[in-house]
Symmetry: C2
Subunit: 314 residues, 2 copies
DNA sequence: TGCAAGTCTGCTCATATGAGCAGGCGGCGA
DNA sequence: TCGCCGCCTGCTCATATGAGCAGACTTGCA
């Protein structure tokens, strides 16, 4: 394609897309046959001169979703558009909305849904509509009795998802991380707790998020870890946590001792699930999202465009 | 359009524009008739959910050009796209290129073209191709013997435009602004100078730019004015200059005494021309572009998207 | 210079899309 | 409750577009 044709293809594109002329009319204007105009337009598209964007909070990026499925081996991927997003909060809201939509459309409807907790999960619970399902029982898959004033968020999330889905919630009555291994083992041997974990292991689907390994972590906010603890984990290679367990960029547990004091499904138990939906969005979670996908923790990923492109192109 | 339809129109748009499905295929996927899909797509477009952009340095914005013609009474307007512009310099280059293209395509070819000088005009001269016209004679319409080391730019501009157009240049051998009115009158009564100005008044077309009233002005760089002079002009309401003459936001001369010492066509003489092409781009020239269009100094405007939108929407 | 390969052009034909219309449906007022 | 009005649906038909093909043209090489 020489320069003249390139320029003509731009002129044709202007008339076609901005002025809504037919290819025939454009041909008359530019003294070309309509077939030539059609070819110029095809070339303009193919060379990337034409960008078509869908501007809507609910817009998704299907080509990126396809690439995630094909190149990263995911069973499914939902990628929300970042176009026109004003703030990280808005991105988070869009992603939560998409996750809620995905759950609502899920067939067959899971009878038992295992959920983690945190800011993302809470937001998803808020975006779900009443009646999004009928008779979905929700079970917590990791400990989360909050130690600070925001107590109850973890429970509220599970309960909201269950209620709106016409089912009931089974809570895991335990802190996320315990100070002593012995305490953790004692709690897990409790009949109720063990029963909840068994139920969690049998769930039809898991819905969880991941947190970044930094000072904004919900574990610091909740009092389970100190900033110094997290700094140490980062030094050991942590990129973030999944169901309270900190992993490195390959998805390996960075601190086995800490992990042993963490209550809930282990990562291997999580990986045993058939449908494992991870919802991870935002700049700060690029690294942990990569680790989650790389290590096969999720089979379905709900994320934003920028994170998806990070996974694909580094 | 209720929320369900809005969402469907987004899903349909994704499949249509990103996945290149036919409306019929989309209908099958979403369990709709193909006519419904067509209507959803039409609504998505109409509500502005679909944005189509042409990404190319030579891309123009025809709808904005139309609005300029219709709403600001211009005979013609050329608006270059700002999409993907990295720097103000690139915007300037795109606009100069567009001006060169416009001149090249101009029919009938002007026999005599009056030109001003400055950074913009110089750049246009560089973008013109050899043989852009045959036998175009170029005449300077305002004084411009440069006083500093960049001497000759004004002359070089006119000569380059003429040479590449297969014609010759007639230079106006005079400074732009003189210190004393008497000197200016003496120069203008000189046979050669008067002859050039007469020739300029008879030109078939004028090509000129405008400068901002700030310290980047080419008049400061050339030594005709000091920074203090320009500050004073701004205080009097100047928004910029056209052929060396400073105007306010309504296009009126802000300092008649200074104007009287400025050599070249007066603004009224400029307005007598039939084809008056102004080339004005860049953030700093929004105000002066508005003044030029508002006061009818140009009949054709070549500008960038942001400036055009400023003229239209304030 | 002459030939062969590849490219470009303008066509035919099949398909996709948009305009416009008749019937059905729901909402609203009497 | 009935009947009218207006919107929405699914259609027919006209038009716009894309696929594929045969011939012309250019280009590179001997």
């Amino acid at each position: 394609m020489d320069e003249t044709d390139e320029l003509l293809s731009i002129r044709a594109a202007e008339l076609y897309y901005e002025e809504n002329k037919t290819q025939d009319e454009i041909g008359q204007a530019l003294r070309l046959t309509r077939w030539k105009v059609g070819r110029l337009l095809a070339q303009a598209k193919q060379r990337g001169f034409i960008r078509i964007e869908i501007l809507h909070p609910r817009a998704r990026r299907l080509p990126i979703e396809r690439r995630l499925r094909e190149e990263r081996g995911l069973e499914d991927a939902i990628v929300v558009s970042s176009a026109g997003v004003a703030s990280p909060d808005e991105l988070q809201a869009r992603t939560a909305q998409a996750a809620a939509d995905y759950l609502t459309a899920l067939r067959p409807v899971p009878r038992t849904l295992g959920v983690s907790w945190g800011r993302t999960l809470f937001e998803i619970s808020q975006h779900l509509r009443n009646g999004w399902a009928t008779g979905v029982n929700v079970v917590q898959i990791n400990g989360g009795v909050s130690l600070n004033r925001r107590a109850g968020t973890a429970a509220a999330t599970a309960v909201a998802i269950a209620q709106k889905g016409g089912g009931s919630a089974t809570l895991l009555p335990s802190p996320a991380i315990l100070e002593h291994l012995a305490t953790k083992e004692a709690i897990e041997s409790d009949r109720v707790v063990a029963g909840v974990i068994d139920l969690a292991r049998s769930a039809d689907a898991y819905l969880f998020s991941a947190g970044p390994a930094d000072h904004t972590s919900v574990h610091i906010e909740s009092g389970y870890l100190t900033e110094a603890d997290v700094d140490l984990l980062v030094q050991k290679g942590a990129v973030g946590d999944v169901v309270g367990r900190y992993i490195d960029s390959e998805g390996n547990i960075v601190d086995p001792a800490l992990d042993a004091r963490t209550v809930g499904l282990t990562l291997d138990q999580l990986r045993d699930g058939h449908l494992r939906i991870a919802v991870i969005a935002g700049r700060s979670k690029h690294a942990v999202a990569d680790a989650v996908v790389r290590s096969g923790l999720c089979s379905v990923l709900v994320t934003d465009e920028a994170t998806a492109l990070h996974l694909l192109d580094g």
